[in-house]
Symmetry: C3
Subunit: 423 residues, 3 copies
């Protein structure tokens, strides 16, 4: 019998290394709930969906639980706005889900979960929530052919529970450097550029990607470090951020200058970490602003892309780029602010010829493609407050109309185009 | 033998349902200490005194403990300003206390309570504190005839320990909605309008009141819900605030649309709660500002008094009014700011012909009447920084002078007029 | 065999009364680490070194542990800036250390201390950190003759672990009044004035000092109280701050008006404490600003130097001065802000003819003298960003040059002059 279980790939849950568990189940399934304690819960949903797909090795997966509206376990449990249930659900589908399930069918009247939303709310079926549920069911019916297709991505981000556990330990240089926060920052920069990324394990086959981003991979074993180096040597592009490659799989520092695992790949040598107090900002000669972290970094083959203007290490390189074999490896030695991080990612993705399906946005526009050998489906999710236009041709399945070159997506709406030619 | 015990009707203490215990003692007694962790400790004193009187069923009670000055268990233990001891003490008397006792007689020299103030301070009797104690004793001597009279009030506010316990539970829609905070907000609005209120249990005989206010009565049993509805049906006026009437006495949600217990009374039906993140404000078309909470509310007989201009539910009703039987029931679906809440209460009290003994103020003026069949006493407490004038005629007992039509009360002073004609 | 152990005279560690332990060891040794959770970690280093010298009874001591760079146990572990290691180390030497040792020799690769800096960092010896270590060794070689000399100071500050433990207890007037914070504030004021102070026990021989400062000495036994009073009676100058002399050695309040132990010495009588809520400021008629604490204080022989303009006790004395025997005793009844506190200390040190070796500064300049019967050494530490000039003549040992009347100390540098004539 095929087996599955509901993983919890969601912020704040980190107890299990799902890379170890995933091969043992036949179908990957996930529970996901928007977390309004985060700065950007909607982008986190996309990240979690991409990571769930990574656990499935790129194959379709099941969204086993989500909420129609508010949950009951956050300090402030927000309802969903009109259309948000559909946008959330189809974002999961766009990113690989072949099923959209919920907790719970009928809102319970007693017990600790009675204020957790349900398909049928306390107020019954004469409710906006119920009507959204029914409409979602109808929409999903029209997307039945999407099932089985795979998400198209030519960029990847490396995620590691072991690096999370080890890097967020007690006695570390800065408690303000947290794995998930740095991961989300890197993911968000790519998301804002309209790039679809696979979220993969450190030992993944990277050869299929044009760009691989490695945020704060504090712990990495020799094989996985070689995996990344070989990828670049063979023509790949990588962006590695600070506090990566510091220790081996036993949490043993790799001596001789940081980041031990990636020193040669990056063409740098770091003498000493120099964290910043919270709230302190440093400027770069590129005009960028950064914080949290700096390093006493020496070039050892790499080029300085930007240097500190101030802070504890003025004149030292903050962003570097190294030619390694037939590829290119970037290093970010500081926590760039979101604008500066996106600027670096824009340059890196363009140099690597990464596909940006969507336009650049503030995160309100997501464009993702699923395809198989014969068909492709373009998902467009408009979280914003105005109509957008996206180039596409084919059959729009949500509204069941033909699309010729341009599809207009109203504020808050989702469109799925069965494209005329597979991507 | 008559029995009593010192209840702790004071902020932050909520372990016991005194409505259950009160009938078992012969005389109600309370301990009260100003709590400077609160935004307005002086108004909380009045609230606690009114609630203690409620426990006594309106009969006189004893203030068994209070402090002459600072306590020792708050983070910052403020001394009392000149006159504050008298104002605090006579506020308790005005609101039903027939005795004013203290902890402790002589300031202890050792132990955890050594910095708790006392009648005789560490510095001895050549102190301002001791002189205030002596003066208070003299003043109380002149008020001896007040003993046995009852406070006059024609408005009530419903208080329930069971609703407090259940509504402040773990898995609730918003942790920023706290029972005592909502209770104090409603009480404060009435207090600022110069209205004396009785604080009563949900099963109290409401027929004697012109207005009954019901803040956040999350849990209510059928009989108590009927008690309120019957009161309105028979011509009463009620103001009910959000997150009231949600569950029965077993914490079981009343289905079919919130607020289940009061849906018919209020003429509304709420599909879904929509809490707000802290700090987020919504505007109403009445000009009011609100926060914390909104609801997807439909009119089902009620009139919309104000609607949201923005926030998650623009255009939905925020304040409603319903004619029910021969009475009127208001509903506040959001946490109005203090100005807006007082504006609603002003309208409601005027429509209900509630007596405002005092002028409107910022809380610095309190006017309360105690009376029996033959005499009445008007207490005027001036917490403010300038002299006020209040209409009264009779004998002023604190200064022992005749008052003809107007009594002038200096900044910081208390006056008690034995009125020429009983109220 | 002589015995020693590494004391932990450093912020946040207070478990042991080192005054009790110190006589039992033959050589005093200390561990000190800069604590970037403090507002001014560099001045705290000087305080801790002065207190360590106090434990040694003025004799030389050993710095058994410090860090070459960052530690690993603070939330944000900052690296040391260029020159900081030398400044830190020579500040310890200037204040009595005859040895400068480190934790740890070689940076560990595993375990909880692997990100604690070391003499040999992870990156090896081709590092700025290693070069600073080597240079420090060379500098210390040139200072070998300093060993055995003693620090010259004619002012003292009284420090008591017992007062710390008792005064920071649970049920106290204000949790914002903390012993170490008040101690650091008083020390900092003297430090900014260029004054070298000994940090001594309440039972120390005070006769050698021109000024003794007593911050928040909540608990004091009769003998130690008499020690201070006798000192002033014999011509000494004292500055006592609020919440001093309140209880005896059994934490028993001394009744009759605060501060019981020092009432006669100070010529005052305090009826009642009047703490302020955090953030509340009071103004004084001297132009000073203060907070946290006020008192209902009566003059009983003392003169009012400044009175409150506002707050709970307008018109009451805030700063007093009393002639007692042949000496003078100041009392600060409130927590003056840093400017006002320095102003009082400036007046008091000048009246007492206390030596200020250094110029007034923002804390960036430290000038300290060590001497024996035949030689004297003037240490000048410039933490600032510009060159300073200090009067001195002799041989400068760090750069090995002759100095004639003026030594110029570059930004960030330390100079040690073997003076032509002993002080």
């Amino acid at each position: 019998m095929p087996v599955t279980t509901n993983f919890m790939v969601t912020a704040h849950i980190r107890n299990l290394d799902y890379w170890q568990w995933a091969p043992e189940v036949d179908v990957i399934a996930n529970d996901h709930y928007l977390d309004h304690r985060l700065g950007d819960p909607v982008t986190e949903l996309s990240f979690a969906a991409d990571l769930t797909r990574g656990l499935a090795g790129g194959a379709p997966w099941l969204l086993m639980e989500q909420a129609t509206g508010a949950v009951n376990w956050q300090p402030h449990n927000l309802a969903k706005a009109p259309g948000e249930l559909t946008r959330n659900s189809l974002t999961h589908v766009a990113r690989g889900a072949d099923a959209v399930c919920f907790f719970q069918w009928r809102a319970s009247l007693q017990g600790s979960e009675k204020f957790h939303s349900a398909l049928v709310p306390h107020a019954g079926t004469d409710t906006e929530l119920w009507r959204e549920v029914v409409a979602l069911g109808a929409t999903l019916d029209r997307l039945v052919d999407v099932a089985g297709t795979r998400v198209v991505a030519d960029a990847a981000i490396i995620f590691s529970w072991e690096a999370w556990w080890a890097g967020d330990g007690e006695s570390r240089p800065s408690h303000s450097v947290e794995y998930l926060g740095q991961m989300h920052a890197a993911y968000t920069a790519l998301h804002r550029l309209g790039v679809t990324v696979d979220v993969v394990a450190p030992d993944a086959d990277l050869g299929r990607y044009r760009l691989v981003v490695v945020p704060t991979l504090y712990l990495v074993n020799d094989a996985d470090a070689a995996n990344l180096s070989d990828y670049v040597a063979n023509g790949g592009h990588a962006v590695v951020t600070f506090f990566s490659g510091i220790v081996d799989e036993d949490d043993r520092v790799r001596p001789g200058g940081y980041p031990g695992a990636f020193r040669e790949l990056l063409g740098i040598r770091v003498e000493e970490f120099s964290p910043l107090l919270p709230g302190r900002q440093v400027g770069l000669d590129s005009g960028a602003a950064a914080g949290l972290w700096t390093e006493r970094l020496h070039l050892d083959g790499a080029t300085a892309v930007a240097r500190y203007l101030d802070g504890p290490l003025p004149g030292f390189p903050a962003i570097t780029r190294n030619s390694f074999g037939r590829g290119t490896a970037w290093y970010l030695a500081t926590a760039l602010d979101s604008d500066a991080l996106r600027e670096v990612m824009r340059t890196a993705t363009q140099a690597a010829h990464v596909t940006a399906l969507g336009p650049e946005s503030d995160g309100s526009i997501e464009v993702v493609r699923r395809a198989d050998a014969t068909h492709s489906y373009l998902f467009i999710i408009n979280h914003g407050h105005s109509t957008i236009e996206i180039a596409a041709s084919g059959r729009e399945l949500v509204t069941d109309v033909a699309v010729d070159r341009i599809v207009r997506v109203p504020a808050g709406a989702v469109r799925v185009i069965r494209e005329d030619t597979a991507a």
